[in-house]
């Protein structure tokens, strides 16, 4: 006789818990859902209100401002390609979703990361939670997300948020803990309070690491935003899903390529935020050197 082990119904318990939450906090989730939908729609409308050629030039200029003229050129080419593949609207919908998820994730992640960096107990408690959020298959989030928020942008956004949050927290903690010990000590030695040390020393010196975290958040948000298409969030994800269901290779490739172009654009842009000093050919660097020259001349 095979040994047996009693089945512990963890899944059922979670299911029951979610049912209870829906029954008792339905209004809260409905409100949240509506708010997220409004935010996403508003940003999408804003992005789409700009005529495509103007928008493409603006995106290219942003690339030049933060990185280089080469990036501006590449942006021009790839975004024109997105437009010509008829993926402009869906791309802007995805971009809106990614941007809103990123902003919310960063707003949550940085304070959490700071807290974890200053408190070992918090750090230890957060670690397994972050592991859970990152490794739980992304599709699993979608089920309760649909139950709570219905179909549309909101469940996609929530699932994206959960999936994209951990690197923001981790990198913030890492960045702050990695600030040179002696430099922090110098702050203490001159009588700075903890808050002054955080604002004046730890956060500024952790910026490159934190920005690398934000970069990861954006990348994960983009990859998740595609999956969000399965729960009805408008955008490139939806295109991909519909391409799969109709076995439409052409559409799938076009939507997929658009995701890639968007991803590279966002990665390079936020990557240069992490190390602004390295971007010698950016407009910002040029402006800065002009200002310094002026300051020296005076």
């Amino acid at each position: 006789m095979n040994p047996t082990i009693p089945h512990i119904p963890i899944g059922d318990v979670v299911d029951a818990g979610i049912g209870w939450l829906r029954a008792n906090a339905g209004a809260f989730f409905d409100g949240l859902s509506a708010l997220l939908a409004i935010l996403t729609d508003a940003l999408t409308d804003l992005l789409l209100a700009v005529p495509e050629p103007v928008a493409i030039v603006l995106f290219a200029l942003l690339g030049w401002l933060l990185r280089s003229w080469k990036m501006a050129l590449a942006t021009l080419v790839t975004f024109l390609l997105i437009w010509s593949m008829n993926q402009w609207t869906t791309s802007m919908q995805t971009l809106a979703l990614v941007l809103i998820a990123t902003v919310i994730a960063v707003v949550l992640a940085i304070p959490l990361g700071i807290w974890a960096a200053r408190n070992d107990a918090v750090s230890a408690a957060l670690k397994p939670i972050l592991d859970f959020m990152q490794t739980m298959p992304a599709f699993v989030y979608l089920i309760p997300a649909i139950l709570f928020f219905g179909i549309g942008a909101a469940p996609g956004l929530i699932a994206t948020l959960i999936f994209a949050l951990p690197p923001g927290v981790r990198m913030t903690e890492l960045g702050i803990r990695g600030v040179d010990h002696e430099t922090v000590e110098a702050g203490h030695a001159f009588g700075a309070s903890d808050g002054q040390i955080l604002r004046g020393i730890q956060l500024p010196l952790a910026v490159p690491t934190i920005m690398a975290g934000v970069n990861q958040v954006i990348m994960l948000a983009l990859s998740m935003a595609v999956i969000a298409g399965m729960v009805g969030a408008d955008g490139l994800g939806k295109e991909v899903v519909s391409a799969i269901s109709t076995l439409n290779t052409a559409k799938g490739v076009e939507a997929g390529l658009s995701v890639v172009f968007l991803a590279i654009y966002l990665d390079r842009l936020t990557g240069s935020l992490a190390r602004p000093g390295d971007q010698r050919t950016s407009l910002l660097a040029w402006l800065r050197s002009r200002r310094q020259a002026a300051a020296r001349a005076s």
């Binding site: 002696e182 430099t183 000590e185 203490h188 030695a189 001159f190 009588g191 700075a192 010196l205 310094q292």
Partner: protein
Amino acid sequence: MSAIQANGLYKIFGRRATRGVAMLEAGASRDDLRKDGLTAAVIDASFEVDPGEIFVVMGLSGSGKSTLIRMVNGLWESTAGELEIYGEKLTKSSDATLRRIRREKVSMVFQHFALLPHRTVGENAAYGLEIKGLNRTEREARANEALAMVGLEGWGGMLPGELSGGMRQRVGLARALAAGTDILLMDEAFSALDPLIKRDMQDQLVDLQRRLEKTILFITHDLNEAMRLGDRIAMMRDGRIEQIGTAEEILNNPANDYVAQFTQDVDRTRVLTAAQIAEQPASVLGAEQGPRAAHRLLRESHNSWLVVLHHDRTPAGVLWEDDVAQAVRDGSNALPWSDTHEMPVVAHDTPIADLFTQAAQHLSPLIVVDDAGRFQGVIPRVTLLTAVGRPRADAPAPAPAGAGG
């Protein structure tokens, strides 16, 4: 009142560290504590630093000197013992009190500079003032003043990353000076610098200290540096202070074998000064006297030269035997100053390493004068050579072979 006064300071790392104090007082060793999971970094340290003094704590890595200096501004809380800054108790005081003492009384210079790379040199120098809450104009004025003091006038707009190591440490020093505290803690401040720059910075520090009369607690693992800078030196080993004394005391009367061993390699010529090896000549001549008196003194002293002093004890010159004898034969009444010999005069605080060139150029002994130019003594060549050659300044004449070491 002492600037810094430490009484029986202990710092022990580990869980329930206070039990380690009791163990140490009961005679347990550092190793015994280690078996219990405790690390005794500083054991029963007592010392006083007077206002305006450079007090050097010297020890190898792991001797507890860095922990000790961090207890002086409360970066580490002491496990036991008391510490006062100008009579104000630092041990067991609240965080707010600690911060106030750090803002107003004690600033610090770090081994690896610890500058803020995202701020300009000027903003770095003004950091302490910013924490104090001064407005921008006043901050900038005082930071520029401090930068000028360390020789970095006009560099305020640069970023620390654009400066060399020595210059960065000058910024670190300027930051501490700008804060306007009386006490400066310097944690291996020059250890990361090239030897040449290090010398430069040491000279500059001594110079600044003389002008500003800051109280400096200086930590180093370099005994030569300790001897160059320190008015007094505390030798630390394994968390304990082994000896406190002036450079000379430590060189000449080491408290134990450890200190003695340590001082073996010290370049004595850089530590001992002219005044310390100068001797009193058998006799000196007043400048108003004549050749006959000179002749008599020369005969009595068995020397070939004679020092002549003015009324105010400033040196007038050196007379030589041959010239005096000639003058006596000629019946002259004026002192016969030599045509060939000059009188080499050196300041009392000249390291003896700097005396050799002069000694080589002149046959006559070196005349040592104090700050007011008054005669303090002479250093004949033989004395100079002996001072360097002797292993111990107070050792008796040649020991029999095989004895001593």
